[in-house]
């Protein structure tokens, strides 16, 4: 059932308004904080207010502007989009609170919070995009809005990372644009509301090229190897940005784009016919393992997180490219699972950096006694990545393995296991160093981060547990993922 409802457009718009207000609030700290948090709350309320309907199967649509017939800015909150936006708006709220604490003494806070809000606006825009054009529009805007955040520190290193980031993501964007154009030409429409719009009659070669273009385009942000180069360097950004980049906005938008490409543009049936997804799955599996191996050798905590992200994102890609319902479920729920666990870790990394100034793993000896709650949250996230049951990561691993079997490609189940072990190999040493190695200085005193940073960290860690422990977490509906899968597979 489709309902025309302005809320589908209001959700992205509210952060836009927030951004404007933040910019307008000059350097008044109070109003900046007020607007940031108020908008985050308002957005969460809006998205959540659509949730009950969405769970009943209602799809909210809203056409904003029409360029020409069938081409325009239109929003459509279907199950998949709702899932993504629920995750991103929840995380926006916590990240905003965290950022307020983290950025306490940083310069250029107005710019930071303004663009921060813009990023989320565009992310929800991508989630709710009704057609490829709208999606591209927000996809590109996101790239631009993130740039000032990446180079926030304005150091030469940051500038270099920013340049790299832009070159990668804009090239990706160009491929997406190219793909959109060809899609429109072939299908005569760009809507994302169908389970596949392209006809097989368009020719195998053309379709394969198109698939490659779109996947390459979205794959840059989703950091599929070898398109991942920007991500580790973008780690120079302030931590809330890294959290936003790696958990919520940028990388997830890429992964989300791949999901849309596979499920809504090509459609499962067509892709099975084309057989291109085999290659994508292979690439994703390679990324999962290779990035993990690289991560083991990173001493800088944030860099390690970056490579872990690269690895984790390919779970989503792998799940999507296996083209089976169970694997698809894994791909979709992993959007949330990875987001919460990864953001927890970033929060922790940021808290440590702010509180103690430490950035590398080997410096963390004994930090577990200094910041017990923070490191406990980190441990929960780490265990989740390893895929310990009752935590979020396990759900993905479980469904993905089942999906691989369902597709008759059992070796991907082995990839899952190998990845779990590799995850253990680079996360457990951190936990180990933190809790079981003693600090050089004997004096150990509990010194946690400010509550604005600790609170969000713990909230996210609790979510990691909730997501793994039960399907009925309020506001984190597994049912939405199932609904999306059912739609895509015509079940």
């Amino acid at each position: 059932m489709e309902v025309v409802d302005a809320r589908a457009a209001l959700a992205p718009a509210i952060s836009l308004v927030c951004a404007a207000l933040v910019f307008a609030s000059a350097d008044n700290t109070f109003w900046r904080r007020f607007f940031s948090i108020a908008a985050a709350l308002a957005k969460l309320v809006i998205v959540m207010s659509m949730l009950p309907g969405s769970l009943r199967g209602v799809v909210y649509t809203f056409n904003l502007v029409e360029f020409t017939e069938g081409v325009g800015l239109a929003f459509r909150a279907d199950a998949l989009g709702m899932f993504f936006s629920v995750v991103s708006s929840t995380l926006w709220l916590v990240t905003t609170i965290y950022a307020i604490g983290y950025m306490e003494r940083e310069p250029n806070r107005r710019r930071f919070f303004g663009f921060f809000a813009l990023c989320v606006s565009t992310t929800v825009g991508v989630a709710f995009a009704e057609n490829l054009l709208t999606m591209f529009l927000f996809y590109e805007s996101l790239t631009i809005c993130t740039y000032p955040l990446v180079i926030h520190d304005e150091t030469p290193e940051a500038m270099k990372a920013g340049r790299k980031y832009l070159i990668y993501t804009l090239t990706g964007g160009a491929f997406v644009l190219l793909g959109s154009i060809v899609t429109y030409q072939l299908a005569g429409t760009m809507t994302l509301s169908q389970p596949g719009i392209l006809p097989l009659a368009a020719g195998r070669t053309t379709l394969t090229m198109l698939f490659v273009a779109l996947i390459a385009g979205f794959g840059v942000k989703a950091a599929i190897m070898p398109l991942h180069g920007w991500l580790p360097s973008a780690m120079v950004a302030p931590t809330p940005v890294s959290a936003l980049l790696h958990a919520v906005a940028v990388v997830k938008v890429g992964a989300f784009g791949i999901l849309r490409t596979i499920y809504n543009i090509f459609g499962v049936a067509l892709l099975r016919e084309l057989g291109v997804c085999t290659w994508l799955a292979g690439l994703a599996a390679f990324t999962i393992l290779a990035a993990s191996v690289v991560a083991i050798f990173q001493d800088n905590l944030k860099r390690r997180l970056a490579f872990s992200t690269i690895s984790q994102l390919s779970y989503i890609v792998l799940g999507a490219s296996l083209l089976t319902p169970l694997a698809a479920t894994a791909a979709i729920v992993h959007i949330a699972n990875q987001a919460f666990a990864k953001i927890t870790m970033f929060f922790v990394a940021g808290s440590i950096q702010r509180t103690t100034g430490k950035t590398t793993v080997h410096e963390l000896a004994g930090i577990g006694f200094r910041m017990p709650y923070t490191m406990a949250a980190f441990t929960v996230a780490a265990l989740s990545f390893i895929g310990v049951p009752l935590l979020a990561g396990f759900v993905t691993k479980w469904y993905l393995s089942l999906g691989a079997l369902e597709a008759g490609e059992w070796w991907y189940a082995l990839v899952m296991l190998a990845s779990a072990l590799l995850n253990a190999a680079y996360w457990l040493p951190v936990v180990y160093t933190a809790f079981f190695k003693t600090e050089p200085t004997a004096e150990v005193e509990v010194h946690e981060a400010h509550w604005t940073m600790l609170g969000p960290t713990l909230v996210c860690a609790v979510f990691v547990i909730f997501l793994g422990a039960t399907v009925s977490v309020p506001g984190m509906p597994f049912a939405l993922a199932s609904a999306a899968v059912k739609f895509v597979f015509g079940m």
Partner: protein, 496 residues
Amino acid sequence: MTPWPPLLALLIVVPLTGAVITPVVGRTRAVRSADWSLGVMLATSVIALVLVVQVARVGPFSYVVGGWVAPYGIELRFDEFGAVIAVICLLGTLAMVFSRRYAAQAMAEQRIPYYYALLLLNLTGMIGFAVTGDLFNLFVFMEILSLSGYALVAVSGEKIAEMAAFKYLVMGAISSLVILLAIGILYALTGSLNMADVTGRLAGAPAAPLAVAFGALTLGFMVKAAAFPLHIWLPDAHAIAPSPVSAILSGLVVKVGIIGMLRVYQIAYGSGAVDMRALNHVLMWLGALSIVMGAFFAVFQDDIKMMLAYSTISNIGYIIMGLGLASSYGMIGASVHVFNHAIIKATLFLGAGALIFQTGKRTLTDLAGVGHAMPWTVAAISVGAISIVGIPPTAGFVCKWYIALGAVQAGHPFFAFALVFGALFIFIYYIRMVNAFYFRQPRDPAILEVTEAPASMLVPVLILASLCLIMGVMGSLPLSFIEPAVQRLLLPLGGG
């Protein structure tokens, strides 16, 4: 319902007369000439607005001056492509406003009335060029705007400006001659100078002279449009001219080549006598080359205006490619980009002008950190930069989208590729600009003490910047406006 017919004539007469009177008005006090020319431009704008609304409602119409019918009389013809006059008037008006403070600083006071007169003359030439239905008049208006253009480049009176103007003059004169030659051939073949008439009579004309004529027309207009490698006159001229003039030159005057090409197409397709395929191919490649090379040269510029000048070459490349694709999407995209690019480039040049005016610096290195001192101006420039790269939802994106779509439609996906990635290239240097303004440490801390530009400069820039956004969000408006004209144009090809 057609409008009061002489309105079309007034469109030319008003600014032309205004231009002639300007020096007289400004003889005692230079500032009066500014008021006067602004008034003239406003009046012209009103006329233009009425006409554009008219053409949107009833389609093309014409007015025969003095009642003499073709082929003997002078016919003024107003169609959708002619609606570019709306942009001409808009930019003209804003440039007039902008010049009030700018001119006072950039040139000696006694030159100011002549500056305004030349500006008006230049605009008149362009308006005339856009609405004339007669080949010879086309040439005449072209010369008016070219000559006034040369003078405007040199108006500051500096040595370097004269050099640039001279280069511009030489190239301009050669191209004018080539075009004149082509017009001569066409006249010899058909015995008429009226475009509609020529179109009608071309059928059955010998192929060789026709090919020479159309080749010559294309070559001439490509020089005017500054397609690579015929662009060599442009960077110096545009960079050295006073900023409002740069805005006009870059935003509008190069478009004369494009509008000329559109007229050539009208004749060629309308008559069905000329096979444009080979020429189209040349145009496509020329466009692709311009996009890439323009961007390539721009990357190495440190002078902000030089950079903008090279970016014009890239963007003209878009349009030329769109024309060469000869598919409906490509044509629509190209035509709309004539409007949109004018707005975008004017935003950038006027913004850059405001920066130069306030800081006295014009290289990116020196301007580092200016974003903190002049937030509104730099924000406007940033919007323009985003727009010219074609990031949605700005004006530039709409055209990029359509031209790329046109490339696929015409069966040349490679050009879509070139276009999309060329745009990426363009981004590289714009990001340098934005970086310098916002994110680099100022070389000279004094730049942070600079104040925001005066209202007479800031307001035009902001209006243009918001238009960049509006034209993107309301992208369907110009598209649907121009669509019937393109359909008509491509009708002989089977509707495109």
